[in-house]
């Protein structure tokens, strides 16, 4: 019996050696990594990150970060993306490193990245901590507003060595936002119920960038709360009595002609209205009675360049009068989609 205990101890001691050796290996690793020139940057959550002077292999841990990399034209350096990365469609072809909340650390390390991009809106501190401990530089963005999203684009551009592209892109997006603001200046904000999830009904709190995006689109959330994704009861919806009900849906229609809405919107609105009109209580809401349903591309939930497209689209749905054909020329004087920014337009904006 005593011998058995001794044996157990032996087996356990072997494991301890394993644990020791792993920390030893890590310490060694940390020492031998920085052979190429690095520069120390502070990320948006205040961590200092040693980024190689020349970033060649990027892994993104959230869909919006991959979208930003594409928008900056650095997609050739993108060697790994998280699940759910589907924008732009080409990003789906990149190798996956797992879910944003619990990515496979080993898949990340196996991609041999010299920079990992994370974001506070979906990734966990734990993941970034572990990567840092393993000597993999991980830069975290922390956008809470549209301005914050633009700042993140600038920061990422700076970190990956595409600051030129980032400045141009941000200037373009900012110009579109400014144009939108000018247009909607005299409009009263529309009080909307933004539906994040239908069962259970979830909306947005004040500190989310969706709430901020609504402001830019000439709207405001009917619900004010510190919780980010409040679950709300139907009773509360009745009490709030929103002007519009807004759903976020994936619709990749062609919306390049400025004034009209994406092709899929009308049927989607009709479908939602039909559904709501068949439900007790919902059908008596004034927004439903008047057919005040708006559909916005689900890009509005993603803090990336495409978000500005969604804001413009929502603004057109909520304020059709302002966007009547004669006033359209004003907004479309700024190129609308980042996919196709002509270089002349970029230099003219700058």
């Amino acid at each position: 019996m005593r011998r058995a205990t001794a044996l157990n101890l032996f087996g356990a001691a072997m494991l301890l050696c394993g644990a020791n050796s792993s920390s030893f290996a890590l310490a060694q690793n940390a020492q031998e990594r920085p052979k190429q020139p690095v520069r120390r940057v502070i990320d948006e959550v205040g961590r200092s990150v040693d980024v190689p002077a020349q970033v060649n292999r990027i892994v993104t841990l959230a869909p919006n970060l991959a979208e930003i990399i594409y928008a900056l034209g650095a997609e050739d350096h993108l060697v790994g993306v998280s699940e759910y990365t589907d924008h732009p469609p080409a990003a789906k072809e990149k190798p996956s490193i797992g879910m944003p909340v619990n990515p496979s650390l080993e898949a990340i390390v196996g991609a041999k990245p010299d920079l990992v991009l994370a974001t506070t809106s979906i990734n966990l501190v734990k993941t970034v901590d572990t990567l840092a401990r393993l000597g993999v530089p991980a830069y975290t963005t922390d956008p809470h507003t549209i301005e914050g999203t633009l700042r993140s684009i600038t920061d990422i551009g700076d970190v990956i060595g595409s600051s030129h592209e980032a400045t141009a892109l941000v200037a373009n997006l900012q110009a579109r936002l400014d144009a939108l603001q000018t247009k909607l200046k005299s409009e009263k904000p529309v009080r909307v119920l933004f539906v994040v999830w239908e069962q259970p009904l979830q909306s947005v709190g004040d500190n989310t960038f969706i709430a901020d995006a609504l402001h830019w689109a000439g709207a405001e959330s009917a619900i004010h709360t510190k919780q980010n994704w409040p679950t709300i009861s139907l009773e509360e919806v009745v009490k709030l009595n929103p002007d519009y009900i807004v759903y976020a849906e994936n619709q990749m229609g062609d919306d390049s002609n400025g004034s009209s809405l994406p092709a899929g919107i009308r049927p989607a609105i009709a479908r939602h209205l039909d559904e709501l009109r068949n439900q007790p209580v919902w059908r008596d809401l004034s927004a439903v009675r008047e057919g005040h349903i708006a559909i916005v591309d689900d890009e509005i939930q993603v803090p990336a360049p495409g978000l500005i497209d969604s804001i413009e689209q929502l603004a057109r749905e909520l304020h059709p009068a302002v966007f009547s054909p004669q006033s359209v020329s004003h907004v479309s004087s700024v190129p609308r989609t980042w996919h196709s920014i002509p270089s002349e337009a970029v230099s003219c904006v700058r």
Binding site: M1, R2, R3, A4, T5, L7, N8, L9, G11, A12, L15, L16, C17, G18, A19, N20, S21, S22, S23, F24, A25, L26, Q28, N29, E32, R33, E83, S96, I97, G98, M99, V101, N102, P103, S104, L105, E106, A107, V109, G110, A111, K112, T120, L124, V125, K126, T127, T130, R133, L134, G135, G205, K226, Q227, N228, W229, T231
Partner: protein, 342 residues
């Protein structure tokens, strides 16, 4: 059943340790990132050599990082947590004289999880708070379940299990309440964590965990012969000279410590504590002198295997290991139950 001799205990433990070794090597070889078996073996051998020579340069950095930095700590954690949960299950089964007792069923895991969430919500930056509060949560829950499970001064099997189920659902309700109302950044991963999650912890905590688990298992092991007597009846054990109160206290604190620590590093993982001691009893009999080390090794084998499956079957997406243990454990448990009935 053959008589239990020290020789037999030794050989069974050596056998189980050999199986564990094979499983550990196997799980070091598979993963989301493809590294050939020969490269893993080379990395391991060179790593072992480097521990003596200090020359790590011969190993490609990314292989070293994946094998030593990620896979080894994770497998080691699975081994430790599996052993802890399994021994804790075996202990509760003896302490409460109930074959269905296990940290998960008795609500002890939920209590530990609640303690851990408290610490994450209010003391996120203090070291060891999570472990400490998880331990306190486990201790309080098992005490509450123990007292609720008594009827007329006697421990009643059915009442005890019902008390455990009630405690687990009540604590889960509090956990849900906290997770809904506190929209803090660190609580977001909780849903995964509650299902059991073995993603790499810091190396320091692994060593600490190892030492404390060893002490707790060792302490429980010292009571093994007494536990055998207590299982035949507390009064009988008392008449045979066993200090029943002391034994129960040691086992109670030891098993709570094991559960609290396991939950604080890996979330609530079910079925290991329930199933492994039963499987071990089936093979090796119910003498606690053998059952405790056999359960420790068996739990280690089971969880290392379950976690390897969890991180590889849909790689690079990782499943919570708790979902894996439940998916395998539930049918196996039903099988054992039916077999015992017929």
């Amino acid at each position: 059943m053959r008589p239990l001799t020290p020789k037999r205990i030794t050989w069974i433990c050596v056998g189980l340790a050999a199986i564990l070794f094979v499983i550990v090597v196997f799980s070091l070889e598979v993963g989301a990132s493809p590294i050939s078996v020969t490269d893993v073996v080379k990395t391991l051998l060179r790593g072992a050599a480097a521990m003596f020579t200090g020359n790590w340069g011969t190993i490609p950095p990314s292989n070293k990082l994946i094998v030593f930095g990620l896979r080894l700590p994770r497998v080691a954690l699975a081994v430790l947590v599996g052993a802890a949960l399994s021994v804790s299950g075996a202990s509760f089964q003896a302490l409460l004289r109930n074959p269905l007792a296990d940290p998960y069923v008795l609500g002890v895991s939920s209590g530990a999880a609640l303690g851990a969430i408290f610490s994450l919500a209010w003391f996120p930056h203090f070291p060891w708070t999570m472990q400490l509060l998880a331990f306190v949560g486990a201790l309080l829950t098992i005490a509450a379940v123990y007292f609720l499970g008594r009827r007329g001064g006697q421990l009643d099997s059915t009442t005890l299990l019902l008390a455990g189920i009630v405690a687990a659902s009540f604590l889960s309700a509090i956990i849900m309440f906290l997770m809904t109302t506190l929209s803090g950044r660190d609580l977001r991963g909780m849903a995964f964590w509650l299902m059991g999650d073995l993603a790499t912890p810091p190396a320091l905590r692994l060593r600490f965990l190892f030492i404390v688990l060893l002490i707790a298992i060792g302490a429980i092991y010292t009571t093994a012969s007494d536990l055998n007597l207590i299982l035949t009846g507390e009064r009988e054990a008392h008449h045979l000279g066993v200090n029943v109160a002391r034994v129960k206290l040691v086992v109670y604190v030891g098993a709570s410590l094991l559960t609290g620590l396991a939950v604080s590093v890996s979330g609530a993982i079910g079925y290991v504590g329930l199933l492994i001691p039963h499987v071990m009893r089936m093979f090796f009999g119910s003498d606690y002198r053998l059952l405790i080390p056999a359960s420790a090794l068996g739990g280690a084998i089971a969880l290392a295997l379950a976690d390897t499956l969890a991180r590889t079957i849909v790689a690079p997406v990782e499943l919570p290991v708790g979902a894996m243990t439940a998916a395998i454990g539930a049918p196996v448990f039903i099988y054992l139950l039916r077999r015992r009935l017929t």
